[in-house]
Every structure is written in structure tokens, then in C-alpha cells.
């Protein structure tokens, strides 16, 4: 089974997302939350790598509350799924372990 990576730092200011992408397996999940949701932008650093990972089967999610709080609804890259806290809880159960990057 796989790992759920949570990232709560903006890729414009921190390397949490790029560090995660270096070790993320194809069947892992990535959840962007708090300022980490800036990683969901089409223009974000690491956006291309994220899209490649998605094409190879990884699931990428972003917490919808944090996306809305920052006004990013219209700017989210394709195939990044917007989820709520209930789905966040379910994701932690669907993966063997949770790795928090911060």
C-alpha cells in the first residue's frame, strides 16, 4: 500500500513540495493544504512534475477550503481533485501511512 504526502508550505517559498516529489511513488497520494495549495496552480514551481506524476497514476488533492480562502478556484491545474476535511480523513485511511512535509 501507499503513502499519503501532505504539504502545507507554498512551493514559492519552501521546498516541501519539491522534496516530496523526489521520493513520491507512482501509487502515492499528495494532499496540498494551507499555503501548500499554491502548489496546485498551473504556473507553480513543480507543476510540470506534478502533472507527470498524475499521468503515471499518482493522485493529487487540494483542500477546497484552503483553495477558496486564497481565491484560487479558477487557477487549479487539471486533474488535481478538490476535497473537503471528510475526504481528508478518508484519504488517511486509504493509505498505509501519512507523511507530513512542512
Amino acid at each position: 500500500m501507499s503513502t499519503l504526502h501532505t504539504i502545507n508550505k507554498s512551493p514559492y517559498a519552501h521546498n516541501a513540495l519539491s522534496s516530496c516529489l523526489k521520493v513520491c511513488a507512482m501509487n502515492d497520494g499528495i494532499l496540498l493544504l494551507e499555503d501548500g495549495v499554491f502548489g496546485a496552480l498551473i504556473s507553480a514551481p513543480g507543476a510540470q512534475e506534478l502533472q507527470i506524476l498524475i499521468k503515471h497514476g499518482a493522485n493529487v488533492f487540494a483542500l477546497v477550503n484552503d483553495i477558496k480562502a486564497r481565491g484560487l478556484e479558477e487557477k487549479v491545474a487539471p486533474d488535481i481533485k478538490l476535497i473537503d476535511y471528510n475526504t481528508f480523513v478518508q484519504l488517511t485511511l486509504d493509505h498505509r501511512c501519512v507523511q507530513s512535509w512542512y
Binding site: N8, L33, N86, F88, V89, T92, L93, D94, Y102
Partner: protein, 136 residues
């Protein structure tokens, strides 16, 4: 894994309120998991996370009061909110016993929060199906 079954969670919080969003995220995660019927074995406040436990914070009345929310959640679900003692003493979070021990004039550990050792985090990791960290 049977997703319909009740799972045991514990949360570790490393961030002070207001210095990052992490403790608020942790609170909302706790509310969601409890509303789904899962069990929350312990919430462990470590490093700057201990600042969540001061009863001297006085946020504006029109703002969400995270500490009150934790206290209410603890009452509603009989939660074990544990503050790391080593992290707490360094940052001036004291209960009555520790204030006496260190000869301090007052104490400020809020109701529903317990000061205890790092072993409580280890125990939580051992007992729970999932330990979720909320970093600063």
C-alpha cells in the same frame, strides 16, 4: 482494509496558533474524524504547539477562538489533550503543580489540557491506527 470500521486516530500538533494555520487544520481534521464516528485517542501538543494550551490568550470576540473550540471538543468527546512538559516549561506553559515546583507566581495551563511527557506521544503512536502530524 474495511473502511466502514471505526479507526483510532491520534494527532500531533507542532505549531502555535496564529504563527501558522496548522493547529486550526488539526482541529478541523479532528472534528471531521469524530463526526464520522472514528475514535480520537489523543491530541499531543509538542514544540510550539504547547502555546495552544495557555489560558491567558484573549482573542477578539468576533474571531474564532481555537482554544475554546479544543476545550469544547474535549468535553464533548472526552478527549485527551496532552501538552509536552519539556516543551511547555521552556515556553512558560505551567499547571499549578509545575508552578509550585519552579516557584512561579502563577500558572496558565487551560482546563482540559494535561501536561505530561513525550512518552504519551509514543504511546499514542503505538495504540492508534493512524498518527497524523500537523507541522508548523
Amino acid at each position: 482494509m474495511d473502511h466502514a470500521s471505526i479507526m483510532i486516530f491520534s494527532l500531533a500538533i507542532y505549531s502555535a496558533p496564529y504563527s501558522s494555520q496548522a493547529s486550526y487544520t488539526a482541529y478541523q481534521f479532528a472534528v471531521a474524524l469524530l463526526s464520522q464516528g472514528h475514535s480520537l485517542h489523543r491530541v499531543f501538543f509538542y514544540q510550539d504547539g504547547v502555546h495552544n494550551a495557555t489560558n491567558l490568550a484573549a482573542p477578539p470576540q468576533d474571531e474564532f477562538d481555537l482554544q475554546k473550540a479544543w476545550q469544547q471538543l474535549a468535553k464533548d468527546y472526552q478527549l485527551d489533550l496532552v501538552v509536552c512538559i519539556a516543551a511547555a516549561l521552556r515556553r512558560g506553559i505551567l499547571n499549578e503543580g509545575e508552578a509550585k515546583r519552579y516557584d512561579k507566581a502563577s500558572h496558565n495551563c487551560a482546563e482540559e489540557f494535561t501536561i505530561s511527557g513525550l512518552g504519551q506521544l509514543v504511546e499514542a503512536a503505538a495504540v492508534s491506527d493512524k498518527l497524523i502530524s500537523f507541522g508548523y
